[in-house]
Structures are given as C-alpha cells and as structure tokens.
Symmetry: C2
Subunit: 394 residues, 2 copies
C-alpha cells in the first residue's frame, strides 16, 4: 500500500482531494462558494434558510408547495422531549455551550424512533429532526442556565425568527429575522471543512446520523474552526476602541500571532460571505446605536491586510467569522453562543453530507475513512523493544 499516495505528512490533508461530492463547490482562487450549483450571493439575496436546507437535502430548490410542506415538517419537529429538558437541568450553569450541544445531539438520539433504521428515508427524517431541534436545544439551554423557563417553539414563525424568539423571549422584527436568516444561509455548507469531514468520517463507519453530527459539533468547537467567531469578538472587546486597533495589529504580528477572522484554509481572496455580513453588521450596529464594533472590525480588516502585506509580501483575507462576530453581538446574542449559532445553520450541511456518505452513487460500497500513518517512534533497536519485567525497570 505504501506506493499509492503520500501527501505531505502532517499537513492536515491540505490540498488533497479525497472524495467527490454533489453538495457544494468551494472555488478558493475565485472566491466562489456554490451550494448545489447556486452561488452563495444569489441564495443569500433570494432564498430563505428553509429553502437552502431543502436544497441541500433534496438536491433542488423547492417549489411553493414543497416549501410549504417542508416548513410544516420542520415546525412540527421543533419541540424537544421533556426528558431532555430534565437532562439539561442537571448541568452546571457554567458548562461550555458547545459541550452541552454535543451532549444534546447524542441525547436526542435516545428519543428518535428511526435510530436503528439504516434506510435513506430514515436518514432524511433524522436530518430534518436535527435541523428542527438544534435551535430549540440551544435556546432551552441558554434559558436554563439563566434561570429562565425554556420556551415552546412558535409554529407560526419561520426557522430564524423562531430561534430568536425562543432565545430572547420576544418576537424579532422583520429586519432582524431576515439578518438571522441570511446568517443561517451563509453558514449552512462549506464542502469538506473540518466539522463536515468529521461527520462524514463517523458516518463512513455506518454510525448513525446523531453520532456523526455529534462529532461535527465537537470539531466545530475548536478555535481554528467554528470557535473562531467567538475569538473575534473576544479580541474586539479586548482591544476596546477604534484608536487601539492599529497598535493591536502590530503587537500581534510582532509576536508572530494570528488575528482571528483573518486567513482561511481554502480561499485566496476575501471570503464571499464576509462581504454579505459586513453591511448587516453595520446596519445592526446603527439600529442599537453602537457602531463601534463594526468600525473596529472594518479598521482591523484594513490595517491587518495592509500590515500583513507589508511584512510578508503576500495577502491575507477576511473570513466568514470576521463580521459575523460584531453582527451577532449587535443582535444581542451572548458571545459564547456565536459558535452554537454557526452549528444550528451548519447542521443542514452536515446532515446532507452524512446522507451523501451513506448513499451516494459514487461510493456505493461502504468504505470507511482509514488513512495510514508512518511510525517514527522507537523500536529500541532493529526489531522491537524487549519487554522488561516490571521489577527490572529503572
């Protein structure tokens, strides 16, 4: 087996094409993100999260009656069992939210009647339940940890608006609902990113939908992946004001540290999603009468880019986490919910990928991800280490 393919070791499979997919296309050089043939800009401007989730799961945009049925189905599956609320109530109030979400996914599995059904129809039903229940789970935990009663989902509200309602206890207006909806559209899917790859990897063993999505939630929690949007906001708060941005940029680069939200594993241009988020962040700041975070972000972007170019002779670009931070903050979302909000969108992409991993025509034979590694440890000589009895070990 040693001859087949040896990508550069320890480079995180960067640039290595491992599978084909019909779900999305990330054209890093061109800065294009495409969900099932549609440009992200077109989707953000003209489709709701429900339409996008349908597109990801069913490979086409819904017509009006399909959309109506799908929205009804999602709304009908939003509620979470009382036993799950009871489990959440046992949790320490300072639990990391992503850990509660990861636990919650596995706990939801206990209540799904399809859990041992390996058919494609069952996988789709489980996907729809997960997409429907993520916002309820997250909002319930945020209220429980703040000693508030979790709210029942409101069937008359769309997905994004209902999430904000369950989180804050009041219905958002149209503009705020729309902004949240656009965020969910933008974050829904991004090909073989680390969390999606984790979901597919787990699904490749024929583990079920929840086991796979649980892994993805774990992966998203890392600060090099979804956790970055929290880090951006923590950074903005640490800097504190517009006049301190420039010094901060220099400090970071002097120390060889990164600036969260700048740089991406895949894009060689600005992340197309950042340009959609930026004006929403500005507008939301205006709405609450506090544009500081947006202004700091803008200056940080410009200064960071200039300084990076000056120092390294190459360019660095903003990614999706950069402006989502100040936007969510202006929407009143607690900072430690930023990554979980990413998750309630991305679960649509994860579940689509799990279904593709199970059933795609391209890989009809089950084939789990099982790479090789190169052993560079000891052998204590030419063969293997001799095992000394415990008493003789120094």
């Amino acid at each position: 087996m040693e001859d087949e393919c040896k990508p550069m070791l320890n480079t995180g499979l960067r640039g290595v094409v491992i599978a084909d997919t019909r779900i999305s296309d990330v054209q890093g050089a061109a800065g294009k993100l495409i969900y099932r043939g549609y440009l992200i800009q077109d989707l953000a401007n003209n489709a709701t999260f429900e339409e996008v989730a349908f597109l990801l799961l069913f490979e086409k945009l819904p017509n009006p009656s399909e959309l109506k049925a799908f929205k009804n189905q999602l709304a009908a599956e939003r509620d979470i069992p009382q036993e799950l609320i009871a489990a959440l109530k046992t949790r320490p109030k300072d639990a990391l939210v992503m850990d509660v979400l990861q636990a919650g996914v596995s706990l939801l599995a206990n209540h799904d009647p399809d859990i041992t059904d390996q058919s494609q129809e069952a996988a789709v039903r489980m996907a729809i339940r997960l997409i429907a229940q993520f916002p309820t789970l997250l909002a319930a935990w945020d209220r429980i940890r703040n000693d508030k009663k979790p709210l029942k989902p409101s069937p008359k509200l769309d997905h994004a608006a209902n999430f904000l309602y369950m989180l804050k206890g009041e219905e958002p207006d149209e503009e705020e609902s729309h902004f949240m909806d656009v965020c969910l559209v933008l974050h829904a899917e991004h090909s073989f990113n680390a969390s999606t790859f984790a979901a597919r990897e787990v699904a490749s063993t024929r583990a079920h939908m929840y086991a796979s999505v649980g892994a993805a939630v774990g992966s998203l929690s890392g600060e090099l992946h979804g956790g970055a949007n929290m880090r951006v906001m923590e950074m903005l708060k640490k800097i504190g004001s517009v006049d301190k941005v420039e010094a901060y940029v220099n400090e970071q680069f002097d120390a060889g540290r990164v600036i969260f939200g700048l740089g991406h594993a895949v894009y060689d241009t600005d992340d197309p999603r950042a340009h959609i988020l930026s004006p929403m962040s500005k507008r939301m700041g205006e709405r609450i009468g506090e544009t500081k975070w947006y202004e700091m972000s803008q200056l940080l972007e410009n200064t960071g880019k200039d300084e990076f170019h000056k120092r390294k002779g190459k360019d660095i670009y903003v990614n999706v986490d950069f402006y989502s931070a100040s936007l969510y903050y202006a929407m009143g979302i607690p900072i430690d919910l930023f990554t979980p909000v990413f998750a309630i969108s991305r679960v649509s992409g994860w579940t689509a990928h799990v279904i593709e991993e199970y059933f795609a025509g391209a890989a009809p034979k089950p084939m789990l991800y099982r790479p090789e590694s190169e052993y560079v440890g000891d052998y204590c000589g030419p063969d293997v280490c001799e095992l000394e009895p415990l008493e003789d070990r120094g």
Copy 2:
C-alpha cells in the same frame, strides 16, 4: 492546490499516509501490532492495562513506583459526579448504549476543572480522568437501565476487575479479571483507525479532549468499526448451532454479504489479537459449561476462510472482533455492551493520539484536517445555476 496529491477518490484514504506518529505501528503485511515499540503479544502476556495506558500516555513503560502512582491516580479519578448520574436517570431505558456513552463524554466535560486549559499537563490530566471514568459511566448506565443502583468504584481493585465489579455487583475471580485485563490491553490502540482518526481530526481544530473523544465514540459505534463485535455475536446467535455454520457461510457469500469478524482494512494476515483472544474464549466457555459459541466461531473461521478462498481465489482473515464476541458473551457481558467495552480500552489510545495531535514535535504549527473534494454536481450549464424566484419554480 489541485496538483499536490490526488489519491483515488472515494476510497476512504485507504493506503494514504497522512501523518507520522510515535504511538503505534500496524504492520499489515507482517501481521504485527506494536505499541510504542512493544509487540502486542509481549504486552498481552506481560503487562497490565494500567501499564499499557501509562506507556501510551507517557511513551515508556512505568517502573514500579511510577506504576503505583499511576494506579492510585486512576483509582482516585474513577468516581463520576452525582449530577451525571442524575442526567443518566433521565434517559429512556432502551437508549443505544454507545449513544449514552457519547453523550456521557460531553457531559463529563462539564465537570472537568481543566476544560479550558490548553496546556499539555491539563490534556494529560483530562486523559487520565477519561480513562478512569469510562468504566464507571458505562457500568452506571447498565445498572440504571436495569433498575439497579449504580455502584461506587472499589479503590482496592485494578482497572479491569473494578469494571467487572461495578457492572455485575460482585468481584470477579483472578482468571476472569485477567481475561478482561488482556482484552483491554489488546484493544487499547491501533494507529489511525476510524475512531482515532476522528478524535485527531476534531483535536486538530484545537477542540478539547472531551470533544475529540466524543467524536471517537461516535465513530466506534459504526458496524464497520467497533460495532462489528456486537454484530459477530448477533450472527452467532442467529446461526444458533454448530451444524448450521456451513450453510450460513454459503448463504452469506451467495448473497454477496460479508461475515462480520472476517476481513480487516489493514491486515493481510490474521489479526495478531485474534490468536490471543481465541484460547481465552475457549477457556471462558469451559468455565461456564457452554463451549458452543467458541466452537461455532472456530468452525465459522475455518469454513469462512476456505469458502472465501475457493470463491475469490484470495484469502480472508479473522479480525479482533471475531473471538472477542464469544469471550465477552461467556463472561456474561450483555451484547450491546461489547462495543462500549472496546471503548473503555481504546480511550487510552484516543487520548494519547489527541495529545500527540496537539503537541507533537512533528507538527508544532496547528494544522487542522481540511481535505479537498471534487464537485461533481450540477452547474445548470457552463457557469452557475440561475436562481428562479419561488413562484416560478415548477
């Protein structure tokens, strides 16, 4: 990026060397499994699980005083919080055990004081807690679902014996404890298998130890990975008696189906662990006066191998799951605990790999696993699909 390396698409990274490791070496052609320089046979014959876990975490076998300290540390960390017991009590009794275990890992994270500490020392402490607490969590759940009170761990018992005690409510004798201990040694580590790769993948985003191990548990639950040992036992029970083995083998191969426990992603010989498990399965069967399952396994191995060779002109070999099934069954372990028992051993390997992923000298720069995929879906023409307004969609 497209030129770098293109392994065969959709082949699960089989044969693709992606990283170096100092933890274990699987020599598939030679049928050798080596943990940090030591042959698995030597470890199984001469070292306990505690020694092996120390070896995996600290890169050397412990001397007597190190072993004593490590065993004390493990014993001191065995207990699980009452709040976790309370969470388990909210679960439906028919929950899949691997789902409870995956949830349990994330729930344990909520109680770990080191959870936000990114130092190597903290990672090692979290690893030791997870290794210590997995058996307690699993035994507690098995007792709760059977309406029994979970038992406190017994500090005077070793790791394997204490697990059997907490599970069954009585202390095992020396031979049974030893057999369980050998099983834990055999299952502790196997390089970049699917669950370990999942753990490393999640850790590569700088997600914490529990998030990473939770993903691994999900991956292990799949029937193409750890779930296979349950499938082996279900198969044996379905066949029912020795005289029906031959017909079953033919039936399976005629229908193009696999025989669980035969075949492995990596070995081109018998799995070295199977030869250690087989005599233990025989002896345990004799102890309980029921050798049928062992005899069926033996005949199934021989008939399966012969028939496969006859039909395909090539060889197939037994893997680790094959004899562990009848062995665990004879030990009175419920079938749906077979894969979780695998997990309480493998957590030692997972945690060692997570620590290597975070801190190994070979990859000092954080580098998350982020492979590429090839988009083979629609573009609706040369460029991208045009987004029709909802009303116009047919």
